[in-house]
């Protein structure tokens, strides 16, 4: 699925940087019914993780009340050049990944 990741390409060592992620997902709550009265089964992202050079720096649990195409923004300290890896895990075996690199000077 498409994801939009915003990580600064370059940062000064020790600088606080903002990371923003937006991913495609319908986030079906499981509380809605079809016109025929059947429950639309829940289909949401349940967990998001961000790793910075392998070490987990941010994790979030997501719930049915979160809007479709979840947007998450968080901060970290730019310590070294390398890679941010993002992973979204959800219902029905859903899994999606993305990555972005940063150069720290």
């Amino acid at each position: 699925m498409a994801a939009l990741i915003n990580v600064p390409a370059k940062a000064k060592r020790g600088a606080i940087i903002e990371i923003r992620t937006l991913t495609s997902h319908i986030m079906e709550t499981g509380f809605r019914h079809t016109a025929a009265g059947d429950v639309v089964p829940r289909d949401i992202i349940t967990s998001f993780t961000c790793r910075y050079n392998g070490a987990e720096i941010f994790r979030a649990d997501l719930f049915p009340a979160i809007a479709a195409n979840p947007y998450l923004s968080f901060f970290t300290v730019a310590k070294e050049s390398g890679k941010f890896e993002f992973e979204w895990i959800g219902d029905n075996g859903y899994s999606s990944t993305a990555s972005a690199s940063i150069t720290v000077e």
């Binding site: 498409a2 994801a3 939009l4 937006l22 991913t23 809007a67 479709a68 195409n69």
Partner: protein, 259 residues
């Protein structure tokens, strides 16, 4: 005699603007963007938080993917969309010579699929069709709308204009009653806009997804308790065409974000 005639003329002159209140002059035309709060505007302005951009990304992938029994991708004929599709959406709905009628961008995509890719048409409001039309229309972002300039479209614009002015539904309201005569006011707390279709397909927060202008028109029709026209019906296409010609000169915003 001259005196009475002058009064009669003055009365006529004074009432004329009210009678013509329907039309919004070009310099008073405002996109729905201008009616939104700063948070929603910020969401549209920043491509990294605009959820419509997710569909544009999907559309870009579809543009290059081979499809149908002709095994051709959009890119095989049209090349790089950044140049070949720039300004195209600002001219749609456009006149289709084969059918002698205007077609919307969604219909053009499906005509291309049928005629050149030998592929099945994509259903209206399906993710793939919205993604493709968002990707194509995104190439026109910032381009001024010129739809309806083709003289062959004139009767269809007239038809759309008539539909726009025609009262319908249990509430007995025409589009013009809100969008020409009462914009800037509020309806149940929500701002009434001029109904300028500058950013379709757009991401509506209420829908939690991207949607077409036809979906928006159908929502308005159920809002006035009228029977909505079917997707792709000549009436909806004519309305879409009239609305685009009415927004002439406004820049395209696709993918816009609306509340």
């Amino acid at each position: 005699m001259i005196f009475w005639r002058a009064i009669a003329a003055a009365t006529l002159f004074a009432t004329t603007p009210a009678l013509l209140a329907g039309e919004i002059p070009p310099d008073a035309r405002r996109s729905g963007y201008a009616f939104m709060g700063p948070d929603t505007q910020a969401m549209q302005d920043d491509d990294t938080i605009n959820p419509g951009m997710l569909f544009v990304l999907d559309g870009e992938a579809l543009w290059g993917r081979k499809s149908g029994s002709a095994n051709k991708a959009c890119a095989d004929c049209h090349g790089d969309a950044r140049s070949s599709m720039k300004g195209v959406a600002a001219r749609y709905p456009a006149f289709d010579k084969a059918s002698g009628r205007p077609v919307t961008l969604d219909q053009r995509i499906n005509l291309c699929r049928a005629n050149h890719q030998q592929a099945t048409p994509l259903p209206y409001e399906s993710r793939d069709l919205l993604a493709l039309s968002a990707f194509v229309a995104h190439q026109s972002r910032g381009v001024a709308i010129t739809a309806g300039d083709d003289p062959q479209l004139k009767p269809f614009i007239e038809q759309g204009r008539d539909l726009f002015m025609q009262r319908e539904g249990q509430l007995n309201l025409a589009c013009t009653n809100c969008h020409d005569d009462n914009f800037n006011k509020r309806l149940a707390g929500a701002p009434i806009t001029q109904g300028q279709p500058t950013g379709y397909p757009l991401y509506r927060l209420e829908w939690q997804t991207l949607g077409s202008l036809e979906r928006r028109l159908r929502s308005c029709m159920s809002g006035v308790r009228a029977q909505a026209y079917d997707y792709g019906s000549p009436e909806l296409v004519a309305l879409e065409l009239y609305l685009m010609s009415r927004a002439r000169g406004l820049p395209m915003e696709t993918p816009a974000v609306r509340p």
